[in-house]
């Protein structure tokens, strides 16, 4: 009897099996039901969220439940324009013989290769435009710049990272089905460590039970240590700071799985928390700055032989910089997760918006993106913050998206968008009137843009 790995065996078959993506489920079922009645305006959805939270499974379950024909194309398939046209386009344009709706899954669109899958995105956009069947796409990172055109034409559906409770629920169910002896604490620990990735949790559960026939806390601890870091970053940073000798600091570094990039961020974050004497702090920062210099040189030259120097300067260099206030080194202070990483993740979208905006402006003004950012955007921000009416007109004139408006002036955005829509209606009326008067529309200078404008201002944020 052939055994299936549990991640396959316990894959959701019905929508109900999918844990905790209620919002997404609701959105998707509504959308699929629209398709059963006709061809809705929103032809494609993009499901996004971290790995292992059920994007693909939910799609499969959806097809199962509604008995849709299911066609999948993923990163293991060639996805050049020709392939997409051959397989997906045909599927997208025809219903099956029985008139069944076909559900088309383009999995992992963020994995579309720039080189090997040349022309893929254009082809997909094209297919969506003419599709007569629903298209579902998935991605871990929907903010990948290359997906921008796609984002503008699809409904974005977010999948949440699963909570510990969600994961625990599923694991307990499996334990029951497999008739396994599972300690509560053990399941807890697995659920804790998987960080919302259900698939890896199931894998871990299976690995422990296959190996030992039961799941106890001790076994789990033992095995999870294999995957996890030997020491949490906090301890490593502390060890580095309190080192008396260079070798101690170096040894501390070896006890972590943090990459050098991560490590330097951890040190940067917590260095000023630990060291307060200005002279010590400056010495330490000078070393940290030098360490960063080496990191930069590694990137530029591709020469990894320089890495040890970077690491020594960021560890031993920093800890040995404390001369004036040696006691301060041993003081207990609370460390932080590197804020830079957190903030950067939080503001990723706004930075991307800024880039896109700079690109739009660069085209209009015949300047580089860098100049747009430094010499133009700040002033546009002033206008958007202080004068919604002019802002709305500029938004139309520059043909920028709703999210860009929101970026330019968070506090005025709703007002500006309202005005934009009002102006658009007026412009539409005007156009109608002019059309009726058989006057060329081109003179108004609006129509040629309104096509894309509709794209920008419809669809989900």
């Amino acid at each position: 009897m052939r055994k299936l790995p549990w991640i396959i065996k316990y894959r959701p078959k019905k929508l109900d099996d999918v844990v905790n993506q209620e919002k997404a489920k609701e959105k998707l079922t509504k959308w699929v039901e629209l398709w059963l009645k006709g061809i809705p305006e929103e032809k494609a959805v993009l499901l996004y969220g971290p790995p292992g939270c059920g994007k693909t499974s939910l799609t499969e379950a959806l097809a199962n439940e509604y008995r849709l024909e299911f066609i999948e194309m993923n990163a293991s398939d060639y996805r050049r324009k020709v392939d997409l046209d051959r397989i997906v386009r045909t599927a997208a344009l025809q219903r099956s013989f029985t008139g069944k709706v076909k559900l088309i899954l383009l999995d992992e669109v963020d994995g579309i290769s720039g080189t090997a899958d040349i022309g893929a995105l254009e082809a997909i956009l094209d297919i969506i435009n003419v599709a007569k069947n629903p298209i579902v796409m998935t991605a871990n990172d929907p903010w990948d710049p290359k997906l921008r055109p796609l984002r503008d034409v699809v409904v974005m559906v977010e999948f949440r990272r699963l909570t510990k409770t969600d994961v625990r629920k599923v694991l307990n169910r499996i334990c029951g089905d497999e008739k396994l002896v599972c300690e509560e604490d053990a399941v807890d620990l697995i659920a804790e460590r998987c960080e919302g990735d259900l698939r890896s949790a199931i894998n871990d559960l299976e690995a422990v039970s296959e190996g030992y026939g039961k799941v106890t806390l001790e076994l789990v601890k033992n095995m999870l240590r294999q995957r996890d870091r030997d020491y949490p970053p906090f301890d490593v940073v502390r060890k580095i700071f309190i080192s008396k000798y260079a070798w101690q600091a170096k040894q501390a570094v070896q006890q972590t799985d943090l990459t050098p990039d991560e490590l330097i961020q951890w040190i940067n974050e917590n260095l000023p928390r630990q060291i307060s004497d200005p002279e010590d702090l400056w010495r330490a920062y000078d070393y940290l700055s030098k360490a960063d210099l080496y990191m930069g040189r590694i990137v530029k030259t591709g020469n990894w032989d320089l890495l040890p120097y970077a690491i020594e300067l960021m560890s031993a260099g920093v800890s040995l910089s404390v001369i004036n206030d040696v006691k301060g080194k041993y003081r207990w202070v609370k460390y932080n997760f590197p804020q830079k990483v957190l903030i950067a993740a939080k503001t990723k979208e706004s930075r991307q918006l800024r880039d896109s905006l700079a690109e739009v402006l660069a085209k209009h003004l015949n300047i580089s993106k860098a100049v747009s950012k430094s010499d133009v955007i700040p002033f546009i921000k002033v206008i958007f913050d202080s004068n919604p009416e002019i802002a709305a007109k500029l938004a139309l004139g520059l043909n920028i998206s709703e999210s860009m408006v929101r970026y330019l002036s968070p506090q005025n955005s709703s007002k500006i968008i309202e005005l934009v829509n009002k102006f658009k209606v007026e412009a539409g009326k005007k156009a109608e009137r002019l059309k009726r008067e058989k006057i060329s529309e081109r003179k108004l200078g609006v129509k040629s843009r309104s096509g894309t404008l509709d794209n920008y201002f419809t669809g989900n944020p």
Binding site: Y285, S289, N366, S386, A427
Partner: protein, 332 residues
């Protein structure tokens, strides 16, 4: 007019000269360029001069006057600071040169903005392209610093030097825009705008438009715009750092980098400005020392990997200097 229309453009775009005769203040250049148009032929061109003096505009106007209003079909625009890598350029140039030419047009134009940002290697490759495709294309190179263009390219180009705009010209232009837009403006405010933007026409018009969006163009509004456009956080960061409040200063730094999206070099430039500005009362010797150190840190920014770390080092230096200065003061 403008109040009735439903769309609006940035004034820099709206009032950009479309044809050569509209360009102000570069009479010599324009006269020579018009000669080319008469002959329906141009050599490779190199437009050199400070920012905001109309180089890019002149290139577009030239193309416009050569090909008519659809000129963009015959012109490929590349910005060297955005499209680095000579391979990208080569690819695009090749492709562009292949496309068909309309009758009567003996060549297309490739416009390379900020070409002094290209490495010497890339310039060497560019020079080859200029030779290879000379029968079907002409290059217009735009540069702030002509001396950064390698000689073999310079000697293949007719060089045009754009001179900085005179105060009078800038202010006259600003006044004219205001009139056109039906905006009231103080003479004093216009002078202030000119000064703030250091003779850069583009920047001047941006400041003007932003000021106008606050109502009239008067001195107070101009100051407001400048204040709003340049985050106060820079000054605040310096002050906190000099007072030894490292963590708070770093929070400001992060805001600048992440929320405002300023690059490390941008921040250093602003720090520089503030150090020598009137708002912060820093003893002269300290100013000079900081400026010296800013040079060092900016160099490390270029070589390093993470801007935040380098700027944090700057803050720690400021904190140290700040304390030293205080110590000196008190001892005296």
């Amino acid at each position: 007019m403008s109040s009735q229309t439903l769309t609006e453009l940035l004034w820099v775009e709206k009032y950009r000269p479309r044809t050569l005769p509209e360009i102000v203040n570069q009479e010599d250049v324009i006269k020579r360029l018009q000669q080319f148009i008469k002959e329906k032929n141009i050599p490779h061109l190199l437009f050199a001069g400070p920012p905001g003096t109309g180089k890019t505009t002149a290139a577009h106007a030239l193309a416009h006057d050569l090909y008519g209003s659809d000129y963009r079909m015959y012109m490929l625009e590349l910005n060297a600071s955005d499209e680095r890598g000579i391979d990208v350029i080569r690819g695009k140039v090749k492709e562009f040169s292949r496309s068909r030419l309309p009758v009567n047009i003996p060549f297309k134009i490739i416009l390379l903005d900020e070409s002094d940002n290209m490495t010497a290697d890339a310039q060497q490759a560019l020079r080859r392209l200029m030779e290879m495709y000379v029968d079907v294309t002409r290059f217009i190179l735009i540069a702030n610093y002509p001396s950064k263009i390698i000689e073999p390219i310079q000697s293949r180009c007719a060089v045009f030097r754009f001179i900085p705009l005179r105060k009078d010209d800038v202010i006259r232009r600003l006044r004219w825009i205001c009139m056109n837009e039906g905006i009231r403006c103080d003479e004093e405010a216009l002078e202030l705008i000119y000064e703030i933007s250091e003779g850069d026409m583009r920047k001047s018009i941006n400041v003007l438009q932003a000021s106008a969006s606050l109502g009239d163009v008067n001195v107070s509004n101009v100051f407001k715009v400048v204040g709003l456009a340049h985050p106060k956080e820079v000054r605040e960061m310096i002050r906190l750092a000099l007072e030894g409040k490292f963590m708070e200063a770093r929070d400001r730094l992060r805001e600048l980098m992440i929320t405002y999206g300023l690059s490390g070099t941008d921040i250093i430039k602003q720090v520089h400005k503030e150090i020598f500005g009137t708002e912060l009362t820093i003893p002269e010797p300290l100013r000079v020392e900081i400026a010296d150190y800013l040079g060092e840190i900016q160099f490390r920014l270029v070589e390093g990997a993470d801007e935040e770390i380098q700027l944090s080092a700057l803050i720690s230096k400021l904190a140290l200097l700040g304390r030293a200065a205080k110590t000196v003061k008190t001892t005296k």
